[in-house]
């Protein structure tokens, strides 16, 4: 057990690509990858709608096992984080499909992050001098279709670039931009109408 323990210094010193190469040679090095990405991935799983912490942790475990299995498929020219987020996204969506239900309500603390990140889109939050509340925003987000919500989560929660979102969702960057614009418009319309 002791030989598998990796210090945080060791973990932070190596790049993702180095860790991948080390893991392919020695599976114990995978611990460093798990240590580095377990917290952000767990957050991402929850943000995608999996609110049950036990289910989220089970999903996280499955995601890391999948990452381990497919490690040879990783392309070093791609950001490693994009690649593992892609696996996480697919795994979570598969989970929701099996459950035949995708929760849409975001946790309240998560919603505040979104609210802050969206604040640069002033016209979205403030309309006709009236500032919308996080609850209203939550109501608007609930009405978004999954494809729009995925982009919104990656852009405003995970703060990913268009290129990264493209790599995670396996869609062209142009489509990312289109989906994001439409998502914003839909949020705006929802805020103007039903969520007031």
């Amino acid at each position: 057990m002791a030989d598998r323990l990796i210090t945080k210094e060791q973990c932070s010193a190596a790049t993702d690509q180095e860790l991948v190469a080390q893991t392919i040679a020695d599976k114990h090095a995978f611990a460093a990858i798990v240590l580095r990405y377990q917290a952000p991935l767990l957050r991402y799983i929850i943000r995608l709608g999996c609110k049950d912490s036990c289910a989220a942790e089970d999903l996280l475990q499955e995601i890391f096992i999948k990452i381990y299995i497919h490690l040879n498929e990783y392309d070093p020219f791609l950001q490693f984080s994009s690649w593992i987020y892609r696996i996480a996204h697919n795994e979570v969506i598969t989970h929701f499909r099996k459950e035949k239900h995708r929760p849409s309500v975001l946790p309240k603390d998560e919603l505040l992050i979104l609210f802050e990140n969206l604040s640069d889109d002033a016209d979205l939050i403030v309309q006709d001098g009236v500032k919308h509340t996080p609850t209203e925003l939550q109501c608007a987000l609930d009405q978004l279709e999954p494809k729009y919500r995925d982009v919104v989560v990656l852009k405003f929660f995970e703060e990913k670039s268009y290129e990264e979102i493209s790599d995670i969702l396996l869609i062209p960057q142009g489509t990312v931009a289109t989906l994001l614009n439409r998502a914003k418009k839909k949020i705006k319309i929802a805020l103007e109408t039903s969520c007031q």
């Binding site: 598998r4 377990q38 996280l60 493209s166």
Partner: protein, 265 residues
């Protein structure tokens, strides 16, 4: 706490005896999609080459003035629409979609939008088809199918069908034998029938040589079950002039136009 979590994940990996997918399988998978895309583009280009050949080969496009009288009763637009080789266009479309599927599953295929990938695939097929047609590939495929696959003739309107109408005076086919002393040609029609052509009084292009292996378009009169009296003979210029024909053992037939005056019927 965090260490507990990741140790649990590592334990699970060991417990399940999880192994990584080997590199060769990853390579094989990537290669398969590239191969699928490449094969589809090549097949699409063959379909496009054949489509271009079949369409361009139509007499009403190039030889309209020459045999205008044969088509006077038919509107030009109807010929045009009828002559579009839809079956080959469907094949092209099908393989373009397969190419799109293959390319989309390559490592970075998702970065390109569907119209870009489909456009690039079609453009590649077009350029490749033009290259293929310099070697008459479209013609060979079309001819092979016309002569050997019965159902193909039902799926396409081709010039070969127009020239397989001996009853109305249009006969086309491949020269099997030429006898310049008796002015007889043995011709294999596109429907496989062997014809004996008498060209004693036929109008010929002085530059044209009737040799074994050459494809001809003959207008004239059907005089028997397998006999035909030729009025005019022209070679299948557009598509077969580039094709090498077997040298004839007979002396090529040459006739001065004023030796046998044209009999117009």
């Amino acid at each position: 706490m965090e260490e507990e979590k990741f140790l649990h994940i590592l334990d699970e990996i060991e417990k399940r005896h999880v192994v990584q997918i080997p590199r060769w399988r990853v390579f094989l998978k990537r290669f398969s999609f590239w191969l699928l895309a490449a094969i589809s583009v090549i097949t699409g280009s063959i379909a496009m080459a054949t489509a271009i050949y079949v369409f361009v080969d139509n007499d009403f496009i190039a030889d309209h003035a020459t045999i205008h009288q044969l088509f006077l009763q038919r509107p030009w637009l109807a010929d045009l629409v009828e002559s579009i080789p839809y079956i080959w266009l469907v094949v092209l479309l099908l393989f373009t979609l397969v190419a799109f599927f293959g390319f989309r599953h390559t490592k970075k295929g998702y970065r390109y939008s569907a119209p870009k990938v489909i456009g690039a695939s079609l453009l590649s097929s077009l350029l490749l088809s033009l290259a293929l047609n310099t070697f008459d590939v479209g013609g060979y495929i079309h001819r092979y199918l016309v002569e050997n696959v019965h159902v193909y003739n039902k799926l396409i309107v081709s010039n070969e069908q127009r020239w397989s109408n001996a009853r109305n005076g249009w006969l086309g086919g491949k020269v099997i034998l030429v006898d310049n002393t008796t002015h007889l040609i043995i011709l294999k029609g596109f429907k496989g029938r062997i014809w004996l052509i008498d060209f004693t009084t036929a109008k010929l292009d002085p530059k044209m040589q009737i040799v074994r292996g050459r494809y001809l378009k003959i207008t004239g009169i059907k005089t028997g079950k397998q006999t035909f009296q030729a009025i005019s003979i022209q070679s299948w210029e557009k598509k077969y002039d580039r094709r090498k024909v077997a040298p004839s053992k007979n002396v090529p037939h040459e006739r001065k136009p004023d030796v046998a005056p044209l009999q117009v019927i």
